[in-house]
Every structure is written in structure tokens, then in C-alpha cells.
């Protein structure tokens, strides 16, 4: 066990956990930030995607000890009012079905648009390919990313 001072969604938070504990479980079990989801545990599905210093990372493969002073943003901290352009576009296109993958999809999309505000179809497919949607909302996700890109 070790103590970590984390910067999450603009707040300083402290946890006392095993250094190998993935951020996914630190967020979910220890910090009650359960918007970040568990899907596979091996960086294959994207359900656990968060931002580390603005980049999309799979929190299931990110040990808490590797986070150090990096800024972590989760779906809960993407915007204060739930009105990030990506979130708004997701509602406009009524993207979610079961919804379980969508926090991860939104975090991947938001990171993409940050680095590439006007992505092509191929850019979107590449950036989002690590996020599985078992319900098959891919065409809506693509449309929503494009809408968000216009409203940045």
C-alpha cells in the first residue's frame, strides 16, 4: 500500500492503494467516480478511457503509480454541466443504446477533437477503433463526432 496524491477533474484527491492498482479501479472503487467503465481489463475495448494530460488512455492498464502528477479527466469532469460539444452532439444524435460503452467513446472522441478539430471519416475511424460498442452505435457516433467538430 502507498499513498498517492492525484489530480482528478481539477481536484486533488488522495488514495491509499497498492501501487499496481489500475486507475480504473482507483476511480471506481476508491473515489466513487463510476462513470468510467470496466469492459475487458486488457486495453481492448475502450470502456475505461480517461484523459491523462489531455490524451486518451485506457485506465484499466494504467497503474496508479504511473500517474504521478499527471492531470486525469474522467467523464464526470469532461464538462461541468454536461455540455461539452461532444456530449451535446451525443444527445442530439441520440447515440446511446445500452449506454455502457459511451463514456469511453465520448472520452476518445473528445481527445481526438482536441488534437484534430476537423477529422476526416478515416481519422474518426482510426481514433475510435479501440472503443467497442456492442450495441452497434458506430454510425451515430461518427455522425455525432462530426457535429461536435462543427460546434467546437
Amino acid at each position: 500500500m502507498a499513498t498517492y496524491n492525484l489530480k482528478i477533474n481539477g481536484k486533488s484527491l488522495q488514495v491509499d492503494v497498492d501501487p499496481n492498482t489500475p486507475m480504473l479501479w482507483v476511480l471506481r472503487d476508491h473515489l466513487d467516480l463510476v462513470g468510467t467503465k470496466f469492459g475487458c481489463g486488457i486495453a481492448q475495448c475502450g470502456a475505461c478511457t480517461v484523459h491523462m494530460d489531455g490524451n486518451a488512455v485506457r485506465s484499466c492498464q494504467l497503474p496508479v503509480s504511473a500517474v504521478e502528477s499527471s492531470e486525469i479527466t474522467t467523464i464526470e469532469g469532461l464538462s461541468e454541466e454536461g455540455d461539452h460539444p461532444v456530449q451535446k452532439a451525443w444527445i442530439e444524435h441520440d447515440v446511446p443504446q445500452c449506454g455502457y460503452c459511451q463514456a469511453g467513446q465520448i472520452m476518445s472522441a473528445a481527445a481526438l477533437l482536441k488534437s484534430n478539430p476537423s477529422p476526416s471519416d478515416a481519422d474518426i475511424e482510426n481514433a475510435m477503433n479501440g472503443n467497442i460498442c456492442r450495441c452497434g452505435t458506430y454510425t451515430r457516433i461518427k455522425a455525432a463526432v462530426k457535429t461536435a467538430s462543427q460546434n467546437l
Binding site: 470496466f38 454536461g82 445500452c98 456492442r134 452505435t137
Partner: protein, 753 residues
């Protein structure tokens, strides 16, 4: 005007003092449009009045509707309340939706599956709304001393034209709750619908995009422990012993013990198809710690003997179930299924003299199709929260079928039903998997053992290797042709492990004079269960691929050929019990022909068509494939759907798009195999799922406009895609695809997948 007898859902008027469901995330319909303005924002009422178990009205006019069915992504949490709101005659903006708990004394059918939510809820939901509206009108009539018949309502307002009196629903709610419930109630005419047929956004949209806790996996209470499970590594094996010491002393580990789901004298029901009744549970302080302990746990497994028991069947009749012993292999499954190409099956339907016609045929075409076991792979792995103390149990879990697991929980815990409360979590996908809810029983047993609240979660590996798979199937089709290529006879022989996929009375039965259908099955100890459009999800692909090849052999356009057969079935049907309406079937084929511009595709586009009827709905689909950089790409999918009245069109289209993506994914990649009883894939690194890059670039879902009562939607768009894709790939590559998944064969043709 249609009239409904309120008796059919009398139980919804049962009053209870405290409404369950407090403290959950609220789902506001008006929040769907992001942040409401101050004016839009209705304050929470000081007092709520319950008009029936679906409807609460606040003193300020805010409406809460309870959505009875579990939500797994088909959006019933929005569309079922829409039915209530329509007849209640309220402004959707003032509606708030809450997920009802499992409460069979108050709700009729809290089951999600078989695409029946809207179909079966169509009259009861509207009746609940119309009855509550009638109570409000009666309350106003009494207050104003005017006849009810002179009172009108609109958008949550009650008016009496002559006296000019007006009141909001909130003002009359308290009195309405005390009025006598009318016996018969008039339902709206279709032409008067204001909410039904107009797209409404997912009531949980905002909660989803902001990451609010809604799933059982998100549950946490004071003092809650975490649990992981360890199940046998292979089908045909069971627990022999385990070494508790191998995990005790590990960080955060509290206990490890085995649990058994079924008491010896328990009579299982049809949905008690759990794979491994005895498993090991590890309890600890966090998910990560119990997952670590899982890896360390030392256990010995042994081969399970053959077991036989009586189980209550689907309809309630007892059936004998045999689970054979042994460790099964995919290679031997395939070999045993292939024997049936030449072995007879059980005759399920015979019209005319098919055997005689085949003997005299000028030409016989015979093709065999097959598909592997499939894992559901819901995005949220199986899990459940349970708090069992003394003789009381509270369970919160992802289940499609709480009613089917309650008895199992009762026997496992030895706690009477009345003391077991099951609350319904939003599910991260279902697809049939969560009709089998033994994860709830497991969590409950673990909690009972430790007498503390617990959240049990499967790893993805547990989830993928614990069974309840779509069975593996095979079907051989034969057609007899004369020298002029006229169709003389048709023969289908289909089976699987452990069940046959055949629906003997479906198309093309009824359209061909000489028709033979045979079924067969091979027993297995691999646990199977419902998977989106059970049986149809295979047989549609086989049948519609064969019809495509047959049309080509006969020199006919594939749509024309199907329409000819359907014309025959309509005007002069062969045999009885044909379970489809040929005109509606033909209707969707004509519609997709039109919408896809079938006759004049874009250059370099390879198209395939397919149509199927299941879950009371008709669907035809056209898939357009292009080959780009040596890679087959699905450019467009056109679907024409006849599911009667469409309640929430945009959400319905979303569901349809998802089914199409799901079908293409499984046709290309879906496959579970076994070696010595052990699943060969346990996570998404090996089990390939369709991703963004392989999804169709565009999907168009078109609905036939009619006034038929709504039928199924979640499943019917799934089965036809397999053949539409296979038929378009044939056009693209010149090769027919008989064996799912298709990707390995495409790769053998040097195409990139």
C-alpha cells in the same frame, strides 16, 4: 374509438403506501435537450399523488411515469412511458421517468426479451394512461359540478369550455387519486396521437453522457464488500477441491468459499440453465484485490458425471434434461454435424411428394451452411449487488427476467419470496444473455454467507467462458429443378448442438407444392441460451443465401424470385399453419427494392438482398459492398421494416442500425470454439468484435407506414443481415460463403479483413 377494459391491468391500481425507487438517478425527458432554461425547469412538487402504479402526479403538474420493463438498451424506458403519456394527455416536457423495481403485484410483465415489450405493453400502458386521465376528468367534473363528458384535456390541462374553467393536472391529482376507477375506458384514435410516432430522446441520454451511476456495477453502499468468482475451466468439469490458504493473507482478501446454486430437491425452470452450479467465491475489500486473488487461487477440478433431472419447461410442463459427460471439441462437433448431411432427421413438415419430385428432378442443388457457437459479450460483464441479512434480501442486478430468477433465489437462500426485493439496474447490454440471471443468485449467496452487502463482478474472462452461448448450427438445403429450371421441390434439414434452428412453417413453406423440413439435434454439456433472435439468427442466413443461389440458378432476379414465391403463398397457399402474412413480407421487399434503387446500383457496388420474418415483424435488407484497397467495405445498408406502428421512430432506427451492425460483426468474426471443453477465447484480444472501421459507412432504416398494432423490433433486423452480406460478398468476390464466420475465408482470398 377503441375501448379497453381496465380489468386487464387492475393490479396496477393497487395502492401501496411508499413507492419504491427512491434515491435513484432521475430521468427527465426535458433534460435530454441538455441544460433546461430556468423557465423550463419545473420545481420538484411538494406532494406526489399516485394514480396507479405507472403514474404519479405532483401538485405542480410534474408527472412521474414508471417504466416497468428492465432496460438493456432497446430504449423501452423511453418508449413505454411514451405510450402512457400519450393517453394521459400530458406534455412530454413535464414527464420524468423512473425505472420501476421488480414488483409483480403491481406490474404485469417485467420482462425484456423476445422483442415483446412494446407489443405486449401496447394496450396495458395506454390503458393505464387513459384511466388516469379519466380520473382527473372525473375529479374536475365533481369539483366544478359539470358533466365529465363536457370536459376536455390537453397537455396536462383540464378545461370546461362553457364555464371557462381550467385546471392543471396537479390541482386535480389529489382528488383524482380517490375517485372510482371506471370499468371501460376509451383509447385514442391513431390519428389523434401526439407523442406516439414522434421521436423522443432517450430519457437517460443526459445521465449516460455525463457518466451517472445507473448500472449494477456502479452500486456502492456503506460496508459493501467485493467478490470475484472462479468457475470450472471447461464444460464437463466440476469443482473437486480448492485451497483457501492460496489466497488467505493476500492484500484485502477476507474469505473464499464455494457456493452451490441449486439445492438437491429444487426443480429447475427453463431458464435455470446455468453452466456451473458450483463455483468458488472470493470476497475482499476491492475489485482489484479480489481479481488478483483469483489468479492465485489453487483449485482442483474433475470431470462431471452425466446428470439428469426434471425441469419445468417453457410452458410450465416438466421436461427431462440430460447433461452429458465428457470434454467436447469443436472439431468433433463439426464432424458430427456433417454426418447429418446424409443422415435423416425428424420430419417436421411435409407438403406434397418432395421425395418423389427429387427422384425425378432434372437437376438438384444442394448446399450446406453452418455457424459456430457465439458468446453474447455484453459490454458490461455479469455482476450483481446483493444485501442479504437474516431472512431479508435486497438484490440489484442486470436482469432481463427478474420473474424467472426469483424462485431460484428463494430456494438458494431459503428466504420466502415476499422478503426478496429485486431492483432493476440499467443493463450494459443483454442480447438474451441476461434472461439467465444466475449472477443474481451468486451475489445473493455470497452476501448471505458473509451477512454483508456485496458486489460480485465477473472478469471479462469469466463472462466469456461461463457459457450461455448461441448454439452451433448446420443446415442443408436442396432444391429440385426440372429441365426448364422450374422449382419442383424444396428440402431443408437443419439441426444443431444442442437444438435445431428450424421453424418448419416459415417461408418458403406455403409457397412450394412439394416441401420437406427435417430437424435434428445433438446433446451437449455446453450451456446455451437465447441470443438475439434465437434460431432465426442462423436459419435466416442459411435460407436466404440458398434462395439467392437458387434464383441465380433459375435465372431470376433475387427479389423477383422471392416475390413470386410470396404471391403463390398469398393466392394459393400450400398446407396449413404458414406463420407469416405473404403480403406484408412482399411489402418490405418492394420497399427495399425501391429505397435502394435496386435495379440501378452505383458503379462498383456489389449488392445482396435478404428478407425474413420473425418476432411478428417483416424485414428486408440490401447490403452494398465495395472493394477498396483489397478490402471489402460495407458502404450502405438499406432496411425496410414492417413492425406496425412505430412508437419512437428515431430510437427505433437506432435499434435497427445496431442490429445490422451486430449481424455484420457476427457474420464476419463471431465465433466461439472449444478444446477439451474449454472455450478457446476468453477476451476481446482473441474474440473479434466489429469495430468502427468495419461498421457500414451508412445505414438507412425505413419503416412501412401502417396502422397495425406494434410488433417486435429489437431482433427482426438482425437475422436477415447475414445473408444480405453473404450475397453481396458473392457479387464482390465470386465466391459463396457457406460457413460463418466469413472473415477467415475472405482472408484466404487475399482480402484484408
Amino acid at each position: 374509438m377503441k375501448s379497453a377494459n381496465t380489468k386487464i391491468n387492475r393490479r396496477s391500481f393497487l395502492k401501496v403506501s411508499a413507492l419504491a425507487g427512491g434515491g435513484m438517478v432521475l430521468s427527465f425527458s426535458w433534460l435530454a435537450g441538455c441544460k433546461p432554461t430556468a423557465k423550463e425547469m419545473l420545481a420538484m412538487p411538494k406532494e406526489w399523488f399516485e394514480l396507479n402504479s405507472y403514474i404519479k402526479i405532483g401538485d405542480n403538474g410534474l408527472i412521474t411515469l414508471f417504466s416497468p420493463n428492465p432496460e438493456f438498451g432497446s430504449n423501452v424506458k423511453t418508449s413505454m412511458p411514451m405510450l402512457i403519456a400519450e393517453e394521459l394527455d400530458v406534455d412530454w416536457k413535464n414527464v420524468m421517468v423512473e425505472q420501476a423495481d421488480f414488483y409483480p403485484e403491481r406490474y404485469d410483465r417485467q420482462f425484456t426479451g423476445g422483442s415483446q415489450g412494446i407489443r405486449q405493453g401496447w394496450v396495458p400502458m395506454r390503458t393505464a394512461g387513459a384511466t388516469a386521465r379519466a380520473l382527473l376528468v372525473a375529479a374536475a367534473a365533481q369539483t366544478w359540478s359539470v358533466p365529465s363528458s363536457e370536459i376536455t384535456t390537453s397537455n396536462g390541462e383540464i378545461s370546461h369550455a362553457e364555464s371557462g374553467k381550467k385546471a392543471g393536472y396537479g390541482e386535480m391529482a389529489s382528488l383524482a387519486a380517490k375517485m372510482e376507477i371506471p370499468e371501460d375506458i376509451a383509447l385514442k384514435e391513431i390519428k389523434d396521437f401526439k407523442i406516439i410516432g414522434n421521436s423522443k430522446k432517450n430519457v437517460d441520454g443526459k445521465n449516460i453522457v455525463t457518466g451517472k451511476p445507473m448500472y449494477a456495477l456502479d452500486k456502492k453502499v456503506e460496508g459493501m464488500k467485493y467478490a470475484a468468482i472462479v468457475h470450472p475451466p471447461a464444460f464437463g468439469m466440476k469443482l473437486k477441491s480448492f485451497d483457501k490458504e492460496s489466497v488467505s493473507g493476500m492484500s484485502g482478501i477476507i474469505d473464499a468459499f464455494s457456493i452451490n446454486l441449486f439445492k438437491d430437491d429444487y426443480r429447475r425452470n427453463f431458464f435455470d440453465t446455468t453452466t456451473f452450479p458450483e463455483i468458488i467465491a472470493i470476497v475482499g475489500n476491492s475489485t482489484w484485490e479480489v481479481m488478483q486473488a483469483k489468479k492465485n487461487l489453487k483449485a482442483e477440478w474433475e470431470e462431471a458425471p452425466k446428470t439428469e433431472f426434471m425441469a419445468a419447461g417453457f410452458g410450465g410442463n416438466a421436461t427431462e434434461v440430460t447433461i452429458p459427460a465428457g470434454l467436447e471439441n469443436t472439431s468433433s462437433h463439426k464432424a458430427r454435424m456433417a454426418e447429418y448431411i446424409n443422415k435423416p432427421g425428424n420430419v417436421l413438415r411435409r407438403d406434397g411428394d418432395p421425395e418423389g419430385q427429387f427422384k425425378n428432378a432434372h437437376k438438384v442443388i444442394e448446399r450446406t451452411y453452418s455457424a459456430p457457437f457465439l458468446a453474447h459479450n455484453t459490454m458490461e460483464p455479469m455482476n450483481a449487488f446483493a444485501d442479504v441479512k437474516g431472512d431479508k434480501a435486497e438484490i440489484y442486478g442486470p436482469t432481463q427476467a427478474p420473474d424467472l430468477i426469483r424462485g431460484t433465489i428463494e430456494q438458494a437462500l431459503g428466504i420466502p419470496k415476499e422478503n426478496i426485493q429485486i431492483n432493476l439496474a440499467r443493463m450494459g447490454g443483454g442480447f438474451g444473455r441476461r434472461a439467465y440471471s444466475h449472477h443474481l443468485v451468486e451475489a445473493a449467496l455470497i452476501s448471505q454467507k458473509i451477512q454483508a452487502p456485496v458486489k460480485m463482478v465477473y472478469t471479462r474472462e469469466d463472462d466469456m467462458s461461463a457459457g450461455v452461448y448461441r448454439p452451433t448450427y448446420s443446415a442443408t438445403y436442396r432444391a429440385a429443378l426440372d429441365e426448364n429450371n422450374n422449382l419442383l421441390a424444396f428440402h431443408v434439414k437443419a439441426g444443431g448442438i444442442p437444438e435445431s434452428p428450424l421453424h418448419a412453417n416459415r417461408f418458403p413453406a406455403g409457397a412450394i407444392d412439394n416441401y420437406l423440413a427435417e430437424g435434428w439435434d445433438i446433446p451437449s454439456n455446453i450451456t446455451i441460451g437465447a441470443f438475439r433472435a434465437p434460431r432465426s439468427n442462423f436459419i435466416a442466413g442459411a435460407e436466404q443465401s440458398f434462395l439467392d443461389e437458387l434464383a441465380e440458378e433459375m435465372g431470376k432476379d433475387p427479389i423477383e424470385f422471392r416475390l413470386e414465391l410470396l404471391k403463390r403463398a398469398e393466392t394459393d397457399p400450400v398446407g396449413e399453419n404458414n406463420d407469416y402474412v405473404p403480403a406484408r413480407y412482399a411489402g418490405v421487399l418492394e420497399m427495399v427494392r425501391d429505397k435502394s434503387n435496386w435495379k440501378s446500383p452505383q458503379a462498383n457496388v456489389h449488392r445482396g438482398v435478404s428478407a425474413y420474418f420473425c418476432h411478428n415483424s417483416y424485414v428486408a435488407e440490401v447490403v452494398d459492398t465495395v472493394v477498396k484497397d483489397n478490402q471489402p467495405v460495407v458502404e450502405n445498408v438499406y432496411a425496410a421494416v414492417d413492425c406496425g406502428i412505430v412508437v419512437n421512430p428515431d430510437a427505433a432506427a437506432n435499434m435497427g442500425e445496431g442490429a445490422i451492425v451486430d449481424g455484420i460483426g457476427n457474420a464476419y468474426f463471431g465465433e466461439m470454439a472449444f478444446e477439451n471443453g474449454a472455450p478457446t477465447k476468453t477476451n476481446f484480444d482473441k474474440y473479434r468484435m466489429i469495430r468502427h472501421k468495419e461498421a457500414p459507412k451508412k445505414i438507412e432504416v425505413h419503416f412501412v407506414q401502417n396502422n397495425e398494432d406494434p410488433t417486435g423490433l429489437g431482433e427482426p433486423l438482425f437475422p436477415p443481415v447475414f445473408a444480405a452480406l453473404a450475397n453481396s460478398l458473392y457479387k464482390a468476390t465470386g465466391k459463396r460463403y457457406y460457413e460463418q464466420p466469413f472473415a477467415p475465408q475472405l482472408e484466404m482470398q487475399n482480402l484484408k479483413m
